[in-house]
Every structure is written in structure tokens, then in C-alpha cells.
Amino acid sequence: MKAFLMHEGQDFDLQRELPRNAEALTQDLELSTLFNAMAAGDAFLLDMVKRAVLSSLHEPDAIRYRQDILTDCLQRPAVIRDLYSLAVEAIQGEKKIWIGSLSRSPDLVLHRGVDVLQMLVGMLKRLRHIADEDGPQFRSEGFTRFFEMLVKELSDEYLLTVEDHLRQLRFRGGVLESAELGRGNKGTNYILRKPHKKPSWLDWISGNRPLSYTYRIPERDENGARALGELRERGINLVANALAQSTDHILSFFTMLRSELAFYVGCLNLHERLAGKGEPTCLPEPLPSDRRTLSLRGLYDVSLSLNMSDTRVVGNDVDADDKSLLMATGANQGGKSTFLRSVGLGQLMMQCGMFVPAESFRANVCAGVFTHFKREEDVTMRSGKLDEELSRMSDIADQLAPNSIVLFNESFAATNEREGSQIARQIIRALLETHVQVVFVTHQYDLAHSLHAKKMDDALFLRAERQADGRRTFKLLPGEPLPTSFGEDLYRRILSYSA
């Protein structure tokens, strides 16, 4: 029995290590804000949503499998939250049942196994009840299969069999086991046996019953009693093990159910936050990785929005289908970095099956999302800083596959403009030729201008918009790079007060 709510026919992998770029992505895209909104203060949810968001899917079908389930969730949030708390209750219920001393004899393992199983059977019955009541309303392939499985596997007949075992495992009629003579004629290979029907009274009288001999432990023979206990435990050893392992299996079913539902509960939490602010969300349209597509309306930076209590944030529209290079230039603090982050966030959220913070979003899936952001906190020497940037770039290069996307934010500006743009040009050229998508934000005119001058078909240039009065709209529009940055604006705004 498997929940399979994160992948079709596959468990959510809780052991897999996060990709190497997870830390950089979290830092550059301010993912912790997103994660915290999804977790809503629950440490387990936090752990699961991190894992889900950072472990991207790479097939449009796999993404749609989750999108469908998410649609069901958004329509019946109460059922999802019920299922989730049932799983939590089962897991916590087991922890409450006394484990006993460290040295666990088969007797103790058996007794505890029976108690835990009794509790779990109760949980399975409740699960079955939800499947009966609410299952039929669910439409997604994932949930339909899940509920059908519950109805089939947890049939009334099956639950009766389980309860019958629970009774037999108390061994009120004694323990029957078979054995053989091992080395030195010591008993070995003890196997617990299911007794045949008792001999009838007729057999009894006619003496037609198996030959047997009986030994009784004398009273006060404590060693004898212990030895007898050991013989008995040799017999029940395997069944105690089977029972304890079975309860572990049922528990791991609930654990997996909880882990997989956690992602959707996180989505519900985030959705409620955004809907409360009136921010739009949409289910994105994922396309195969080799079909360069980026078409979006009203894409905003979800982390930025979550940080602002009730103001909505500015969204951007971009039509960059068939473009491999997207370069944004223009005024400092004109919204370039925000835009860059919103692209990265949108891409990551799409690739884990979530909704996207936009009115619409259509993009090809990427083999990997990478960020190379200027790190403000590094106030080391100039050369040291360029070193550090290049070493991170080399790290990224180790991980790159065709159809990945790299987001650059003011990269390679730690040296003079000529050198910096020279480095950047060579890197960009190499990436494009190896089919890696590039989004580059820069205030360096030399770099932007030289690339613009090449008139590449697959490049799109955006510019931070400035109105006639010098104020910024924080919107980006197509436009060629302009020779000056807007530092003069800043200078005027910040220093004119003191002037």
C-alpha cells in the first residue's frame, strides 16, 4: 500500500540529498520567506516543503500529476487537512505506547506489537471511512487511485482477518512449535505452528491420538521456568518479529502519507495567505525542456509580497518565447533584481507542481535552476571577490546540463568594467552554445551594449522603466541598453535633501 501522491507510482524520496545548488538558491531567491509561509510554523511541514520545492521535477507530465492533485486539494481543503491530522495522530499514537526496557524479549516485542496493531487498525478503519465518504468527489488521477486502493485493500473482510490474528496472537491455548535436532542434538529451527483441530472425543477414547510425553517444571525450579520461557520465546521469536515489522510498515505508510500530504498542506497555507491579500495565482503551463518558452503576465516576487503585510507588489509581463538570453539593464533599484528573483521563483514553483505567483505563466521546464548573484556581504578585497565569484561560477559549471537556466545578478562586476564584461561575454557565449538559458541582470553598459550590438535572434533586452520625472515604476519593458545608468537619480534623491 503506497500513497503515491507526489509521484505517479513512486514514493516521495526522503533520503535523497538536496541538489548542490540548494543553498545558493535559498539565499539568492529568498526562499526561506516562501518556505515559512507554507509551513505556517510547523517544523515538519517546513522540512517537507523545502525538500519538495528544491527537488525539481523535469517532466511536464510529472508536474501535471501534482497540479491535478493540488486542484483537488484547493477544492476540498478540509478533507486534506483531516487526512493529514489522521496520519499525525497515528504516528503520535504509536509513540505513546510503552516500549519497555532496552533488552526486548520476543514476549515484550509481541505484546507491544499487538497493542500497536490494535491502535493502528483503528486508524485504518477511519482512513477507510474517509475514503468511503469523500473519495468519490476527488477527480485527480492521484487521489482517485489512492482512495480506490484504500477501499480495496482495507476491505471489511481483511480487517476481520487482522482482528482474528490479534486474538490468536495472545496465545491463550499455549504455544505450539516444531523443532529439529541440531549440532550436539540441541533443538534447532524452532517454528511456530498453527495447531490442527483438536482430536475428537472418539479419538480420545479409542486411544487413536498421537504418542506424546509430558514434562512439568517442578515448583520453585526457577531455572527450569526460565528455560521453559526461553523455549517458548524461540517459538514466538519470528512471529513477534513479523508483527513488529508489520506495525513498522503500517507506520511508515502513515509517515509517507504525512510527508506527501505535507507538500499540499503547505500549498494550501500559502494559497490562503496570498488570496487573503488579493494576489493572483495560477497553475502554470509546463512545456518540454527543449522548447524555449517564457510567457508571463503579472509575475511578481512572492517572497517580496509575503514580506509586505498588505500592499500588493508590481508584476511584470514578458514575452520571451524562443529566446535563450534575457538581459535586463537600466536604473539601479529599478526592479531588475526583483524581476530576476520572480523568474527564478516562478520556475522553481512550477517545477515542483505548485501554482505560480502570476496571472499566467508558461515556460519550458529546465534541467536545473542556478543562481549567480553578487553577494553584497562579501566585503573582501577586490581580487578576492572576483576569485570568489569565479569559483562559484566554476561550481555551477560542474553541475550544468543542457537546458538548464542560470540567473545572473550583477555578476563579474567585482573588477573593472572592461575585464568584467570580457569575462561575462565569454561565459555567456559558452552557455548559450551549450543550450543553457541565461537571464542576466547588469548595470554594466559595456557588456549589455556589446551583446545588443550582435543582434542575436534569441536574445531579448529589457530595461527598467523610468518616467519623464525620473521616478521608477519598477516595471521592466523591452528596450536597448542605455549608456548611463541611473545613479544620477539616486544621487539626486538621496543627496539633494542634504544639499
Binding site: G187, P210, L211, A227, E233, R234, A240, S246, I250
Partner: protein
């Protein structure tokens, strides 16, 4: 020739070998350590006395060389190891049988021991029949074993043993435990209940699980409840257990003496070959020395001190790899006089020389690429005793007493190894005593090594050969442990240091001139 021993072509040579004590020179040559390593893990065979017993004839040495050559073949050595393993198991089972309290248990362990013995003999006989054997020792043993394995006596023993084992193994019984009583009956094909429970919950299986099975103590003996159960099982199967009772009494003395002796003696070879493998694995070599009891022309190439090498190849100490040395004596040369810088391998060289001769006298391979050695009648060592440096006069007296003892017992066919005698006397005394004693050794015409700081001793005549320990030419602080045949000028060491610091005559001239 009927087979008697794997170690001695003339059985009388091996008489009373077990009464042998460790020879006096063992500790000086570190042969005690060597033999300890060789025999480690084989205590049950009591092999040490064999290593204390040098052979006295060239043919006895050859007899062992032949066996060693055969056993260098991996297949043959493997057969014998398998056999030894079984014999060991057999002895463990016999010992176990003696330790136990309940009759049916003792009898079962005894039965197992006999079965193992029968298997060991039969298998070895089969293996040897197809093996390539050239040595007199192994060929004679094979003939003996083939006859023994095919004898009616052994065959019927094995058949009876096998039948009884099978009868016991076929018994399957039921225990029904309730409260304080236990009922024993025959097994009636009742279903496996654990499997049924497991199957019920199969559908929840999610991958790797914890093992909750308890581990029960695996003692060989039984408690009285198990014994009571076994007695009841015996009552259910009276015929089988009657046969078991009868078996023990009839087969008490089943082990053949010649097979048992072979099992012990062949370990002498296997132990040594295994020991040499740890060196050959590291690129060092061993060879069969040419052994003579007449010619005193001797030599060895790329040889080394086994005790020291054993520490180095152990990997525990991170020291330099093993340094190999060459030596040779050609008529009328008889004595090596070793001098040179301290810690440069002089003592190691002396020990190597002694070890090589002793190992050769045991009929074994020796460290080195190519060797010719002398089959001595006695081996003497005189190594400086460090402990009582307080009483110089007493020490000198003691030294001289010991040397006197050696000189009176030594013959022209002996080997004498002296290491740093007279270090605590004056130089004049040391030169005087050294010359006197060496003179007597020369007189005796015996083979030997003398390690000394008095390099005059290396020039006493045509029978002495000077060997010098050396250092790294570029860095005198690094010792090479190489000991080379070279006149002792007392200068080479100083010259190297001078070169390094630019203070040789020529260099100093140039520097002052410029």
C-alpha cells in the same frame, strides 16, 4: 620406503625433538621473534621445537627443500590447508564432547568428530591422488594415505557414521508449551503460523525494516529442560538413540597415528611459506640456498633481517622500506669485520648473517635472491649485554668468560657472530683484545662476523673482509642501512658531511679564493 615423517628423511634424526629447548643464540639474532611470528596462530601444533633443531646432513636439507618446492604450488598447499582445517574442527568437536554433561549430547559431538575425520582423510586422499608431487616425503605419504583411505576399516566407519547422522537429522518433533508443562510429540505437518501473519501484512511493506528478532545464546550445552525434552524425543525414536549409544563404545580409538603426525609436521612448512608470503608480497625475495658442509665459499644477494623486515612490512611503523644487503666470502676469506657509523645497519647485518645460516640448517628458504651457505655444526653469538654498565671491570671479565667459552667449544665447522665487544674498555684494550680474539678465530678457520668500532681489526689478514655501514651521500643524517664491502678508512662519513657543508679541501679553497 615406508612413510614415517614429513620432516626427517631418517626418522632417528627426529627422535626426542620435542624435548629441545630454545638455543642460546636465538635471542641475540632475534630468531625468537621470527619463530614467534612464524608459529603465531598455530599454537596447537607445538611447532617451535622443530625450529630449535638444525639438520646435520645435506641430504636432510634436500629432503625438506623438495617438500617445500611441492608446497609452493598453490593447489597442493590449498588441499593441505583444507585438510588441516578439518582436523582442527575434529579436535574442537572431540574437546566439546568431553566437556558436556548429557550423554546424548556427548555422543552427538563425538559422532560429528568422527564424521569430520573421515571426510578429512577421504578428501585429502582424493586431492593428493591428482596432485603434482615430486618430493620423496609427500610421495611416500600419498601412497600411505591412499591405502588407508581405501581400507575396509575406514570405509565402514564412514558409512555407519553417515547413516546415523542422517537418521538424527530426519527427526522433527513438536513442543506444546502451556503454563509450566511441555508436551513433546511428533510433528504432524502443522502450518507455519509466523509466515501466515507475515503474509497478512505483506501489503504494507515499505522497504527496509528493523530486525526485532532476539538473539538466543548459542551455548553448546543444554539446560535440564532441554535435556528432558531430548530424553522425550529419544523415547519417540528409540532405535536411533540406541544405535547412538552403541556407536561411541565401538569407535573410541579412531585416529591414525601417522595421519595425525602428518597433520602436525606439514604445518612446519605451511607456517613458514605463509610467513614468507608477507614479504614476497612487498617485493622481497626468498630463495633455496645451496647448502654445503665442505666449502666455506658463501654468498647471498638482496638478503635482509627477517625480524626487522617483519616490523617494517607490518605497516604499523611508518619507517623506510626494507634495505637489502649482499655479502660474499671467497677462499681464504672467513670473517666479516663490520665497522662504520652507528645505527647504520651493522648489527642488522650480523643478525642477518646468523639468521640465514640457521634457517638454511632447518632446510628452509632464506631471505635473498641467491644464496650459498655453510651447514655448520654449532652457531655461537656474543652480543653486548647492555644492562650492567656500572661495573666495568666485572663486565669485561664477564665478556671474556663468555668468549672463552665459545672459543673452547667452537670447531672449524662452527659459525661465530660477535657484536660490539669491549666497547666499555679503553681503545688500547679494545684493539689488543680484539686482535687476540680475532686471531684465535682466524686460527680456528671458522666462518663469522665481528661488528666493531675498531677498524684496525678489518686489516688483520687475508681471511678478514671489511664491511662498512653507510649513510646517504647528500644528507649524512639519513641512514641507508646499507652495508657494503669496502675498506674501512674511517673517512667516508666525514667526507660526506664536509661536502654537504662545502668544507672539503677543494671547496674550501674555491670559496676562500673567490
Amino acid at each position: 620406503m615406508p612413510f614415517r615423517s614429513m620432516l626427517f628423511d631418517r626418522p632417528e634424526d627426529g627422535r626426542r625433538v620435542d624435548e629441545r629447548q630454545e638455543p642460546g643464540f636465538f635471542a641475540d639474532l632475534n630468531l625468537d621473534q621470527v619463530v614467534e611470528s612464524i608459529t603465531a596462530g598455530r599454537n596447537g601444533y607445538n611447532l617451535k621445537p622443530f625450529f630449535y633443531t638444525p639438520l646435520s646432513s645435506v641430504d636432510a636439507v634436500r629432503y625438506r627443500h623438495e617438500v617445500l618446492r611441492d608446497l609452493q604450488g598453490e593447489a597442493l598447499a590449498g588441499y593441505i590447508r583444507t585438510f588441516a582445517e578439518r582436523m582442527r574442527t575434529m579436535r574442537e568437536r572431540l574437546a566439546q564432547a568431553d566437556k558436556l554433561r548429557y550423554r546424548y549430547q556427548r555422543e552427538a559431538w563425538f559422532l560429528d568428530a568422527v564424521e569430520t575425520y573421515g571426510d578429512a582423510v577421504d578428501r585429502l586422499a582424493q586431492d593428493l591422488s591428482g596432485a603434482e608431487i615430486s618430493s620423496r616425503g609427500l610421495a611416500a605419504f600419498r601412497d600411505y594415505l591412499t591405502g588407508y583411505a581405501g581400507s575396509d576399516r575406514l570405509k565402514s566407519l564412514r558409512a555407519e557414521t553417515g547413516k546415523l547422522k542422517a537418521d538424527l537429522a530426519a527427526i522433527r518433533y513438536n513442543l506444546h508449551i502451556k503454563g509450566d508443562r511441555i508436551r513433546v510429540s511428533n510433528y504432524e505437518s502443522e502450518a507455519d503460523y509466523s509466515a501466515e501473519v507475515e503474509e497478512t501484512f505483506e501489503k504494507f511493506k515499505q522497504g527496509a525494516v528493523k530486525d526485532y528478532r532476539a538473539k538466543f545464546p548459542a551455548w553448546a550445552d543444554m539446560n535440564h529442560v532441554e535435556a528432558a525434552v531430548l530424553d522425550m524425543v529419544a523415547k519417540l525414536h528409540p532405535d536411533v538413540f540406541l544405535a547412538l549409544d552403541d556407536y561411541r563404545g565401538r569407535h573410541d580409538k579412531y585416529i591414525n597415528k601417522i595421519v595425525a603426525d602428518f597433520d602436525r609436521e606439514v604445518q612446519f612448512y605451511l607456517a613458514y611459506l605463509e610467513y614468507t608470503a608477507r614479504f614476497t608480497n612487498k617485493g622481497l625475495t626468498f630463495c633455496f640456498p645451496e647448502v654445503s658442509d665442505r666449502s666455506k665459499d658463501i654468498h647471498a644477494r638482496d638478503t635482509f633481517d627477517l625480524a626487522l623486515a617483519n616490523k617494517l612490512v607490518d605497516g604499523k611503523s611508518g619507517r623506510s622500506p626494507v634495505v637489502c644487503n649482499d655479502f660474499h666470502l671467497r677462499d681464504p676469506e672467513r670473517l666479516f669485520v663490520v665497522s662504520g657509523p652507528n645505527q647504520g645497519g651493522k648489527t642488522t647485518f650480523a643478525r642477518t648473517f646468523g639468521q640465514l645460516h640457521h634457517l638454511a640448517s632447518l632446510g628452509l628458504l632464506v631471505p635473498g635472491r641467491d644464496a650459498k651457505l655453510f651447514l655448520f655444526d654449532q652457531l655461537f653469538t656474543h652480543f653486548e649485554k647492555e644492562e650492567d654498565a656500572t661495573n666495568l671491570r666485572g663486565k669485561l671479565e664477564d665478556d671474556l668468560t663468555r668468549i672463552h667459552d665459545i672459543l673452547t667449544r667452537a670447531t672449524p665447522n662452527s659459525v661465530v657472530i660477535m657484536n660490539e665487544a669491549f666497547t666499555s674498555t679503553t681503545l688500547d684494550d679494545a684493539v689488543f683484545l680484539g686482535e687476540k680474539i680475532l686471531g684465535q678465530l682466524i686460527e680456528l678457520d671458522l666462518l663469522g662476523v665481528c661488528v666493531t668500532f675498531v677498524d684496525e681489526l678489518s686489516r688483520l689478514g687475508p681471511s678478514t673482509v671489511s664491511m662498512v655501514s653507510t649513510v646517504e651521500p647528500d644528507d649524512p643524517a639519513v641512514r641507508t642501512y646499507k652495508v657494503v664491502r669496502r675498506p674501512a678508512d674511517g673517512l667516508s662519513y666525514a667526507a660526506t658531511i664536509a661536502e654537504k657543508y662545502g668544507l672539503t679541501y677543494e671547496r674550501l679553497r674555491e670559496r676562500i679564493a673567490s
